[in-house]
Symmetry: none
Subunit: 402 residues, 2 copies
């Protein structure tokens, strides 16, 4: 059932829902134990909760699809990530916490090496260090002026940057200028319809001035742009589900994504302890809390199996503090798998559990990839179905049809 249909069934009550997302939770066996990171971790509190929960494995986007952080989280919050696409420019803005306004045009940029006028020699300018990127952004911000069009050029990381244009009547229907291949010409900015003419002219002006500004900065002497996009006009999460909603996350990307769908962003610290303290402090102010644990993913990306295990164990040790608050519904899962084996996000389904007094628990007694296969949520539940199930467990959905 889609978001619009579900929102028609929503009713309100006093229940509280906590959505604990351990980023990149799912893993893979790496050593001779044959156990995944989660299976290796000592997690008495998660296992106890699993016994009282309905468990399973969920698919963030679809079978075989490795999700980026954006689609991974959208699925968890009930948005079909195939239907609700976030442009690359918007994702870059979310990633660095840039506060995109309605009407802004965002694009992802690469510092690149261009020769003989227009031929791309290196799409990443030798992966320049982030410090160099900042210097170049300063130069651009000082040297370029677009008249009454405001613009922002912000460092992301290494060769990556964000360009935002702010003016009236801008269009995001602009083709990439990045030819995606070395040895080819940079593409001229082009609009998909005549509504984009004004924006195309502004981008041409920007790139002309950019060429002059970076003339002495070889090999970082140009910028390739892609993923022109606007902040999407989606149904808001709090409106759709009738939940006053807050996000507790330390990293800009996840705060940005939560803000994009209308959640309040709570100030918190860097540690798990900080996040759980914030949860307790704000407990009376919201119906729904999204609490994000980042480091399960970071250590997975590093290929550091043992440290990922430790982060899972640390999260496990916070569960009693969560239970002390007596939430009506608890959902625990990840936005995708990040097995240390692969040092990257992966397509593997992600362990998930939903606890409530009326969840109808299954026979799963351990929170782990293999144990969850036999759970009541099944081994391949579409992630977007987790929110409707959580809402049902919170007794916040009316009957469909009489």
């Amino acid at each position: 059932m889609d978001l619009e249909e579900i929102s028609k069934l929503v009713k309100k009550n006093d229940s509280k829902i906590v959505y604990l997302v351990m980023d990149g939770l799912g893993g893979h066996p790496l050593n001779e134990s044959g156990l995944t990171e989660l299976e290796s971790a000592n997690t008495p509190n998660l296992d106890n909760l699993a016994k009282k929960s309905i468990c399973g494995l969920q698919l963030p986007v679809g079978s075989g699809i490795t999700p980026g952080s954006g689609p991974g989280h959208l699925g968890l919050f009930g948005y079909d990530p195939i239907k609700y696409k976030v442009g690359r420019g918007v994702l870059a803005a979310l990633g660095i916490g840039f506060d995109l306004q309605p009407g802004d045009i965002a694009a992802r940029g690469n510092f690149a090496t261009v020769e003989k006028g227009n031929i791309v020699k290196d799409r990443r300018a030798g992966r320049i260090p982030t410090e160099k990127n900042k210097e170049l952004c300063n130069i651009i911000n000082q040297e370029i002026s677009l008249g009454k069009t405001k613009f922002f050029v912000e460092t992301v990381k290494e060769h990556r940057l964000l360009l935002v244009l702010r003016d009236e009547n801008l269009s995001a229907d602009i083709l990439d200028t990045d030819p995606q291949q070395v040895g080819r010409e940079i593409l001229e900015p082009k609009g998909l319809t005549s509504d984009s003419d004004k924006t195309v002219e502004i981008i041409k002006d920007f790139l002309d001035q950019l060429r002059d500004a970076l003339i002495d900065e070889y090999p970082s002497n140009f910028v390739l742009l892609r993923g022109f996009s606007k902040k999407p006009n989606w149904p808001s999460f709090p409106d759709t589900f009738g939940l006053k909603s807050a996000a507790i996350a330390a990293y800009p990307m996840y705060k940005g994504l939560a803000r994009l769908i209308g959640m309040d962003i709570l100030d918190t610290g860097e540690t798990l302890e900080d996040e759980f303290n914030t949860l307790k402090e704000k407990w009376n102010d919201y119906d729904f809390f999204f609490l994000h644990v980042k480091k399960t993913d970071s250590y997975g990306e590093d290929g550091n199996f043992d440290e990922k295990v430790k982060v899972i164990e640390e999260t496990d040790s916070m569960i009693p503090r969560l239970l002390d608050l007596d939430p009506d519904v608890i959902i625990i899962t990840g936005d995708h798998s990040t097995p240390a084996l692969l040092k990257s996000h992966s397509w593997h389904p992600v362990p998930a559990m939903i606890y409530s007094k009326q969840c109808r628990p299954d026979n799963v007694k351990i929170f782990g990839e293999r144990a969850c296969i036999e759970g009541g949520l099944g081994p391949r539940l579409p992630a977007k179905e987790l929110m409707p199930i959580a809402m049902a467990n919170a007794l916040r959905l009316d009957k469909y049809g009489a």
Copy 2:
């Protein structure tokens, strides 16, 4: 695969299919045994049949969605309940066994309290008793005349009534007159297109006369109308599946729903024994029998765990009589869960089994919620897939593609 595609594959043979629907079958643990109603019941016959069947849990509408009886049954019969929506007026007609004709407009009504001309003071007129409702319906039927438009006003229960208009060229594209909120004005009848003009005038005439007829009946001095709808023009069940089909049910709602999709309604008594007698008597006359057990749901709604267990056991005791008839395919499930814990329909998946000589049985040895998770139908089979599987087991579906 949708109904139209499936119907192209249908072929006929002599097989007989019995669809035993235990209304609200699925449950939830309530006491310290930790067992559901079905798990608590002593069901040797159902368990024996489960051993020879393919089992699982089915989702009537979708994850987290609590089905009304209409959508719940439509899914069982292969109709996607999101696509095939029954209007509230039509459902009200089905619920009291009103024989709706093609072209009739049905609306669900509430006796309500209206003050200062048009302001709704109580949308249910203090939930008047059913007897009072009948008196008021008599007054309306005596006092109001709509010329050559026939109308029917019928008591449903308490403050609820059914209005049916019968004439040529009536339209159901009419907005509710119920403002859904106390303190607001009654809404004037309005059509969605000019095709509705005639119907709107008739409803205005009806409401004008109604105001006079009920002028001395405060607090039940008006009627709020919603869910204007016509008997839908859906593919018929017997035509779609090539099955001469009969319904054996004691309650009007289920007879009405079966009639709506083209099944014959067999006369039967009030008890389970009566229903199984009818099945035996008519065994040679039909290919398909829908047999409905109501009281599993009724006791669930009452929160009466023990009596729900007894009805399940009583149904179990009828299984040998069913097997004596030697049906080729038996499907046993419910239209939704009704856990005594919640005293209402719920979103939980419903145990299901399909027996035939070629069903390829799984490892499930007990018919219960937890045991069925590991069945071959999986833990969350969309209900609308049960009929195609039953048809395949009856060897009534041709190969798809060469």
